[in-house]
Amino acid sequence: MKTAIRDFDSGREAVSHILEAARRAGATSADALYVWTDEENVTVRKGTLEKIQASQSQGLGIRVFVDHAQSSISTRDLSRSHIDELVARAVAMARHTAADPYAGLPDELLAPAADPETLFPPETEIPTREALFERAQLAEEAALRYDPRVTNSEGADSARSQARIVFGNSLGFLEGYRKSSYSLSCSVIATEGDSMERDYWYVVGPLWDVTKNPEAVGTKAALRTVSRLHARRIPTGSFPVLFDPETARSLIGHFAGAISGSSLYRNATYLKDREGTPVMSEKVTLREDPFIPGGLGSRPFDGEGLPTRKKTIVDRGRLTTYLFDTYSARKLGRHSTGNAVRSLSDGPGVGVSNLIVTPGTKSLEDLVAGLSEGLLVTELIGFGVNTVTGDYSRGAFGYWIKNGTITHPVSEVTIAGTLDELYRGIVEVGSDLEIRSSINTPSLLVEGLRIAGE
């Protein structure tokens, strides 16, 4: 398919039209988000093409206010008559909802914090379907030939996505940016005797270049998979737990949820009234940086059109600030921290751009070598995380460490504790930080968690 990259005109035009339609329908203020995406996804399995998915899609998310009452709509149909009718319905619906004195657009109209053109690398050439196919095939091939115990495949997947995002509100804000993402992933099955295991590896980033080494992706997927063969349980007990960067990321994600202004005003976080106090071990410093060039969470303005900004969230263990959008800030007598997030069908709510945990000095190998006994965790499953109570209990896969070396893979165990104990029990932060997601952290070594097994 020929890829047409649109300029901002249609998005800006649609947003301007909506804001005008809302005004005409009786809205006292409004905002609108336009998202256009062009995506292609190619799956290769056992060397041959298995699936192609291609799409171009556009959508609108609209919020209207009648004084302090609001309602929202989203649609995929951009025809003017449809939009006019929907906006009129939204205004009618808003009149039924209760007035909320804190609801409304931000107080000010501010310019974006960064030039979108410098924030996102220029797109040179969009890869063809054939190019996507080739990299997926190379990745899977490398995985399948890595080890004879790699006997089956769930396939390799190569994907690209080009997006255009435009946001405007009736204060006069109207800005847009483009965003690209490329990914390559590979998942294989290894068998030996009656043991069968699956694992995967992936890369993702703003440039096609991120997938330039497909063999490395396949090889790592295969290595991770065969390493898991003959995984077994370990005895129940309390041991140090070393989270690798992939699993440590989820811990930082739970934390970001627990410090959001919306959790705070709902009484829905164990971190209430903890600003300025230690919430993690003093080894941990956590920053937010919305301006990493091409970063997966990078953005010049937030979901309400306010400028994003860099901040230190946790400074050597101490919580320096909660995160607010306009609504939660108003409710709590604070100011927005530029952390509103918005999607077509939902929002705004509170979220983050890019988070980075400052790396320490020890490599993952050093950390393993320093343990007389412990569990290295490489995958977590399940939903046993409650940020209201702070209780934490999840299923884990990983490796048992004895006398500084890995002795065998581990599965069918859980790790449990409280989030507060977990974050304050971080005794080491690894040096292995790699920016490959919107949340980025090195390995984290935690003491005081309970492992349930045999």
Binding site: M1, R45, E50, K51, I52, Q53, A54, S55, S57, Q58, S71, S72, I73, T75, R76, D77, H82, E85, L86, R89, A90, M93, H96, T97, A98, A103, N152, I189, M196, E197, R198, R228, A231, R233, T236, Y265, R266, N267, Y270, D346, I381, G382, F383, G384, N386, V388, T389, D391, S393, R394, G395, F397, E412, T414, A416, R450, I451, A452, G453, E454
Partner: protein
């Protein structure tokens, strides 16, 4: 326009978007019928959604969503080409089909297709009148205000009530390779209440949700609202006095209803046709083998009227059915869509499902249920020497290949000598799918379906599902507690 007209579901797309049989013949005939093509379909969807939420005592969010599009799929052997468009004109449709077909067919040969008038499914599992979307906005807002008021009146420790009502009407039309067209209109409503109670520094949550493919009058009654508010508050209060959960391998009694997600995670996913065709499931190649205690018979049933997981036809137009997965402990069947069934020499079981026009079809569960056994639930509990009685759960997840699955308790009790001693904090249970049902010791006579809240995620796609379970005793599950 937003609420589709009630009559003429079969002609909805033709009336609304001008997609006549002749136009469809042109679109399909231009591309699909080369000999390499095993299957092809166009999936038309027009969905209207509405959602309301309350917090801090006021309904401050109300929203609507209109989602429309056509997914085009061409299947050849193990290969699938998939594309979608959000426009309904012949050019957009032809472009989508062209994009999808290039995977299967390089010859460009095509044969004419004769498209028939749309037909309705033979079964009729859900109403088409008095749907939630038909009711005036203030009635729906009143539901949430009532829930809020009832929950706060229930106990003074309630510090927050969050409730939501979400409803949709999905109208679909599936145009198949043989020219037949099946049209259906599928309603769905879900209501949820979540409360936070506080006592000193101790803050706990409780939730209750219900719903299904039923009319508004059937879902919203004053009894149901009272029950929901009471249950959510009761669960939160129980958790206020919960103690740390023990850890390690122990015997567990699961309560009836929603704990059926055990079946969904431990068994259901592993029996989906795609994983078994590819040999990547822990259950691959095990048909006819014993995988559960003889006390266990498990079915997947998409034909239960009004249930959240039920459908008249699946998203490939195949009528849903009651499929026996495990019969008295023996593995009997897999869940199939058309492609995987064909490749495995089997028949579709009506389990081909997709989240929307923008997502490809996969084999998915509908309502997954263990049939009632013979034990009295009270006797099952009193048989437990030392262990956990798990009454309610949050979500679960499974690793299909190794069979390891987890699910999280949201209300559970520590039991000794058949007596409930105290509630324990939420914890994750972990087990091995092919093993766990061999450890079933007793099956209760109290099978219950869940209240209509399940959503299943697979490969990034979410679809509504149901589960059902009688009280069950399972010996030797790992409990992920903290002491």
């Amino acid at each position: 326009m937003t609420t589709p007209p009630r009559h003429d579901i079969a002609l909805f797309f033709e009336h609304q978007f001008g997609t006549s049989p002749r136009l469809l013949e042109g679109v399909l005939g231009s591309a699909v019928l080369s000999p390499a093509v095993d299957d092809a379909d166009l999936y038309f969807e027009y969905t209207v959604r509405e959602h309301y939420s309350i917090e801090d005592g006021i309904v401050k969010k109300a929203g609507q969503d209109v989602s429309q599009g056509v997914g085009a799929r061409i299947v050849a052997g193990e290969r699938t080409g998939f594309a979608f468009t959000e426009e309904f004109d012949p050019k957009a449709l032809t472009r989508a089909v062209e994009s999808a077909r290039r995977i299967a067919d390089k010859s460009g040969n095509s044969a004419p297709v004769s498209v028939s008038r749309p037909g309705r499914p033979a079964s009729d599992l859900y109403p088409v009148t008095d749907l939630t979307l038909d009711r005036p906005v203030p009635e729906k807002i009143a539901v949430l205000e009532t829930l809020d008021r009832l929950a706060r009146a229930e106990n003074s420790k309630v510090v927050q009530v969050m409730a939501s009502l979400a409803s949709e009407i999905k109208t679909i039309q599936i145009v198949r390779k043989d020219g037949t067209i099946v049209a259906d209109r599928i309603p769905l409503t879900r209501i949820n209440i979540s409360v936070i109670v506080q006592e000193g520094d101790n803050r706990q949550t409780g939730t209750y949700g219900w719903g299904g493919r039923t009319d508004f009058g059937g879902l919203v009654t004053s009894e149901k609202l009272s029950h929901a508010a009471r249950e959510a508050v009761r669960q939160a209060l129980v958790n206020l006095s919960a103690r740390p959960c023990p850890s390690g391998t122990m015997n567990v009694v699961l309560g009836p209803g929603w704990p059926g997600i055990l079946l969904h995670e431990a068994i259901g996913h592993g029996l989906e046709g795609d994983f078994n065709r590819k040999g990547t499931s822990a259950f691959s190649g095990r048909l006819g083998e014993r995988v559960a205690s003889p006390l266990c018979t498990i079915i997947d049933d998409g034909t239960i009227p009004g249930r959240r997981g039920s459908l008249n036809v699946d998203d490939e137009g195949t009528p849903t059915q009651r499929t026996v997965l495990i019969e008295n402990g023996i593995l009997r069947g897999y869940l199939q869509d058309r492609q995987n069934a064909r490749l495995m020499g089997a028949k579709s079981t009506g389990n081909g499902r997709r989240e929307s026009y923008a997502h490809p079809v996969m084999p998915r569960m509908t309502n997954t249920v263990m049939l009632a056994g013979e034990s009295d639930p009270g006797e099952i509990l009193s048989s437990l020497e030392r262990g956990i009685y798990a009454v309610n759960f949050g979500g679960g997840q499974v690793d299909i290949t190794s069979g390891k699955f987890v699910f999280s308790m949201s209300e559970a009790y520590y039991v000794e000598n058949g007596r409930i001693l105290y509630p324990v904090k939420g914890a994750t249970l972990i087990g091995n799918g092919p093993e766990v049902l061999t450890k079933v010791r007793m099956v209760g006579n109290d099978m219950a379906l869940d209240t209509g809240v399940g959503t299943c995620g697979k490969d990034g796609q979410s679809v509504p599902v149901g589960v059902g379970l009688p009280t069950l005793r399972v010996d030797g599950i790992t409990v992920g507690g903290t002491h």
